[in-house]
């Protein structure tokens, strides 16, 4: 028994040393990768100082033409959206940005499955593991999963699922993945195979933690003008799923712009790449409409 316990302890000690070495290598690569998705992550977390910041999921990345927003509104703009990102990650990224900068306009693209529906929120914080040491991030991790503070002791866990890809991007830079000021247009026509026939959007069970993060996001924005925007979707959207965020916006006096059931876009193949994402033409058209709304809103 004694021999067994001693060997287990020795095993854990060797594992600890490996973990530290991986941490040193991982931290170096994470800080020095300047292209691709990790370069974009680093830019958002450490450098972005644009006047307009756009947050949200892949719908944000593909829908908000950042150069067009810059030109039309006369302010610099960066699209901080990310695939599968929801309000939880948006808050984390805004928190990092607010450490050094105060944007003038903040746009959060609303997508109910990521921002309203009940689900496992720990999947969103994975993107923030590299920034765990920064102010407010550890508290955020703990609010979502109490075990995170123990898990994050391990560097192997910190770089779980991405170290190999980070290395790849570090060795073979991929500037094309950074997009145009973060905006990545889909240059392909509608893929009808990717449209679910007779799709009926379910009414989601509301996740109070996500709504709590909607409030935190508004608080964190400070004096910036905040817009919660529902960008177009081919299927249209069930307004019932938007109600919880709409109610918060009304209560907090935040602008809520809804394009989800705009007849110009619903079932219009010309503007879409698939059922949930606009193509480049659609993104341009939508950004123009959004600019119009923002201008109208600013005159009020």
């Amino acid at each position: 028994m004694k021999k067994f316990i001693l060997k287990v302890c020795l095993f854990l000690a060797v594992l600890f040393i490996i973990d530290r070495i991986v941490g040193i290598i991982g931290n170096y690569v994470a800080c020095n990768v300047h292209t691709g998705v990790y370069g974009r992550d680093n830019y958002i977390g450490n450098e972005a100082t644009e006047d307009i910041l756009v947050f949200g999921s892949s719908r944000a990345v593909h829908h908000y033409n950042a150069p067009m927003l810059s030109d039309s509104l006369g302010m610099t703009c960066y699209n901080c959206g990310d695939d599968g990102c929801g309000i939880v990650l948006s808050y984390g990224r805004l928190l990092l940005n607010k450490e050094r900068h105060s944007p003038k306009i903040i746009i959060q693209d609303v997508f109910p499955p990521n921002d309203v529906a009940m689900g496992d929120n720990s999947r969103y914080i994975g993107f923030l593991k590299s920034f765990y040491h920064r102010e407010g991030i550890a508290e955020m991790f703990e609010s979502i999963d109490k075990t995170q503070k123990y898990k994050m002791i391990s560097n192997l866990y910190k770089y779980n699922g991405k170290l190999h890809h980070m290395f790849f991007v570090y060795l073979f830079p991929r500037p094309s993945e950074e997009g145009l000021q973060g905006f990545r247009p889909s240059n392909s026509a509608m893929d009808t195979m990717k449209v679910v026939k007779n799709y009926q959007e379910p009414v989601y069970e509301v996740d109070s933690q996500k709504l709590e993060y909607v409030n935190k996001f508004i608080d964190c924005a400070g004096n910036a003008k905040v817009y919660f925007v529902v960008s177009p979707i081919w299927y249209g959207m069930n307004p019932q799923n938007l109600k919880p965020i709409k109610d918060i916006c009304k209560k907090r006096n935040v602008s809520f712009l809804d394009f989800s059931n705009d007849a110009k876009y619903v079932h219009n193949n010309q503007y879409f790449h698939d059922g949930a994402h606009l193509n480049a033409d659609g993104a341009d058209e939508f950004t123009k409409d959004l600019i119009k709304k923002i201008r109208e809103d600013s005159k009020k």
Binding site: M1, V14, R123, L156, N160, H164
Partner: protein
Amino acid sequence: MIFNSFNFIVIYPLLFLLYYVIPERYLKVRNLYLLIVSYALYISWKPIYSLILLGVTIVTFYSAKLIARNTSPRKYMLLGVVLSLLPLLFFKYFNFINQTLTSVLSNVGFQCQLTGLNWAIPVGISFFTFQALGYLWDVYYKRIPVENDFLSYCLFLSFFPSILSGPINKASLLLPQIKGLRKHFDYSKAVEGLKMLLWGMFMKVVVADRVALRVDSILDSYMNYSGASCFMASVFYTIQIYADFAGYSLMAIGVGKTLGFELTENFHRPYFAWSVTDFWRRWHISLSTWLKDYVYIPLGGSRCSKARNYWNIFITFLVSGIWHGANWTFIVWGILHGLFQIIEKMLGEQKCRYGWFGKSIKIMITFMLVNFAWIFFRMPTLSDAWGVIERMFDFSLPMTFALTEDIVSLPIIFFGIILLFLKDLRDEFFPKKFLLMNNKFVIVRWTTYMFVIVSIMLFGLFGADQFIYANF
């Protein structure tokens, strides 16, 4: 307890140390400790359902005593079987029977609707019920003596490593170990257990859970994907369910070993089977042994006419399908496996009389047949399963693989699958060569352990859902 959970990693070393703190001579106290731990872990899921586990334990314990005491024990055996099966039928099959009856009655003009149940199924109910029934029948057929110690019997049914997803242990294997035929601490067994735990964890979190992400994204909206992608997802699911269930079983057996117990082997490289019959000698061995002993042989087994033998195979696999779930998809899956074996028997293809080339072809054919049947197992309805199959054979669709879209997890997926394949290939065909975890040199063994654990922590998916078989 979910072995790949953070709670397990924190709690288990503590449970392990406390277990070995109890001196060897206090066997009853050690068993009581394991029983308390097993029930405490079961209660942590849903306290009320532990009463069902206790109920099945009490019913089968006393039924077995009555069977042993009486000269005509048949009625006691039947009473015990019916009472033990009631919770399983109620929780698992009520909605299915209700819906089926309602639709049959509405087709003949009767409109009646009973309210369905919206309750979660008690975890492991199919496993502990079958384990209890196995004991009851073994006592009835006088294969084992009746157990008079209630504490030992309680532990036999609730033993925490195997209650969630098996293996379904035979009383003749586990009860003697509970009653004292195990060492206080067996170093080599404990080390063997940790190796199994490590490899089982790799199979679960690096292979099964990573592959599951791709499988779910394609099969949950198969209508958006090409036939080639659907086929690839079906092959991935075949790998996923093996890595998931065999990984879990390996972890359960490993945890058992660290406590000094030997549990039933549950998987023996099933995808190297050269026939569907051979597949069932290697897949979920504890269930197929149970079905053989308590369904197939009592029906007459193979010592009867050919037609009757085919019927026995069919019924056995129909029961297997029903055991897996209350859905027509599982029933079709079971029927398919039964039919495949009947056809093999008719063609005399249950044995492999060919050289390595013929054997390889047979392994591939078996893999494809099993893969085809898994589509029914995976999809929520028969029409969805048919939809996937139709799409796979729709050659008008572009032959594109959705896989290429995911460049981040793709290398991890293939890393896991290739390593699993190489390990199984070595175990199957070169069991005494290329030893890594069992190498005579410490440096090779430890490097392998480190490689596996670092792979788990770097490439594993943490926070994935339960094991697939925990749903049964």
